[in-house]
């Protein structure tokens, strides 16, 4: 089988197929169902993050695991907010 990364056209077609499937699946859902999925995915991802921290750091205390999850999320938040949010309002120049 050829390497898709060496044939940009085939790679784009595959990406479009995957994206198309996501769109069509979402279109079949109601607004309420999609919102329910956001809740379910969010709760699930937090459980996975905790499990990941416990495994990666070899922890046995769940509270320690959550401590690391909090630290990581805080770091991510700082990166995402960089340049977008500041603690002091700047004077706007004309």
């Amino acid at each position: 089988m050829s390497n898709l990364h060496e044939t940009p056209g085939a790679l784009k077609a595959l990406q479009d197929d995957i994206y198309r499937e996501k769109i069509l699946r979402a279109r079949k859902m109601t607004n309420e169902q999609r919102l329910a999925d956001v809740f379910e995915l969010t709760n699930s991802v937090f459980v996975r993050m905790h499990e990941g921290a416990m495994w990666q750091l070899g922890l046995s205390d769940p509270d320690e695991g959550w401590k690391f999850v909090r630290q990581r999320l805080d770091r991510l938040q700082k990166i995402h907010d960089s340049g977008r949010f500041v603690s002091h309002k700047m004077e706007q120049t004309a």
């Binding site: 479009d16 994206y19 198309r20 996501k22 769109i23 069509l24 979402a26 279109r27 859902m29 607004n31 309420e32 999609r34 919102l35 329910a36 999925d37 956001v38 809740f39 995915l41 969010t42 709760n43 699930s44 991802v45 937090f46 459980v47 993050m49 905790h50 509270d63 959550w66 999850v69 909090r70 999320l73 991510l76 938040q77 907010d81 340049g83 977008r84 949010f85 500041v86 603690s87 002091h88 309002k89 700047m90 706007q92």
Partner: protein, 187 residues
């Protein structure tokens, strides 16, 4: 605690304080686009009445630990108050003050109600058109992908495209809108 319990608590706090609100962020995007997980509950609150932000923050203080310092959005200079749930998992809560920006005010005025079985309550959310305009205005890569997703899932034929185009013209984001539309693969 689940994210539903946190979101429900924030909405209940707004309602108990008589503060008009609108849920935004990933909840609004996920409702109209492709559902994904999020780290935070984002809510815009009206400034009508005395010190609504302070009252909502105070009412949530047993559940959410808010930063002492208010932050400002560098694009619009709107105020944001950030907090994190005291219990695990550490969900973020971001409260945005409704401020005097023509689009933000229009978006808030056009908000619609939806009953959520998970929250066991009716909540206020923006329209899909306003989610798209907002995302195109922010313009980060993730926002542009989100705008394209909402356009793709809701389908331009069913959306009020003149409304979207009008705001994009005012925000000088027409190129972003065209790129988002072009990014939707043939169905």
């Amino acid at each position: 605690m689940t994210v539903e319990q946190i979101a429900s608590g924030v909405i209940a706090a707004c309602e108990q304080e008589g503060v008009e609100y609108m849920v935004t962020g990933a909840f609004a995007y996920g409702m109209y686009g492709i559902p994904r997980s999020t780290k935070d509950v984002d809510v815009v609150i009206s400034l009508a009445g005395g010190s609504p932000m302070e009252r909502v923050v105070q009412r949530l203080s047993d559940v959410i630990l808010f930063d002492e310092q208010i932050q400002f959005d560098t694009l619009t200079w709107g105020k944001r108050q950030v907090g994190t749930s005291r219990s695990e998992p550490p969900f973020k809560v971001e409260l945005f003050e409704l401020f005097d920006d023509p689009f933000v005010l229009a978006q808030f005025q056009r908000k619609r109600r939806l009953f959520s079985a998970q929250l066991q309550r009716t909540i206020w959310l923006p329209t899909p058109e306003d989610v798209i305009v907002q995302k195109l205005r922010w313009g980060r890569n993730k926002d542009l992908d989100d705008a394209r997703d909402v356009l793709a899932v809701q389908e331009p034929e069913t959306l009020d495209m003149p409304y979207i185009k009008n705001w994009c013209r005012q925000h000088d984001t027409e190129d972003r809108l065209l790129a988002a539309l072009a990014g939707i693969p043939p169905m």
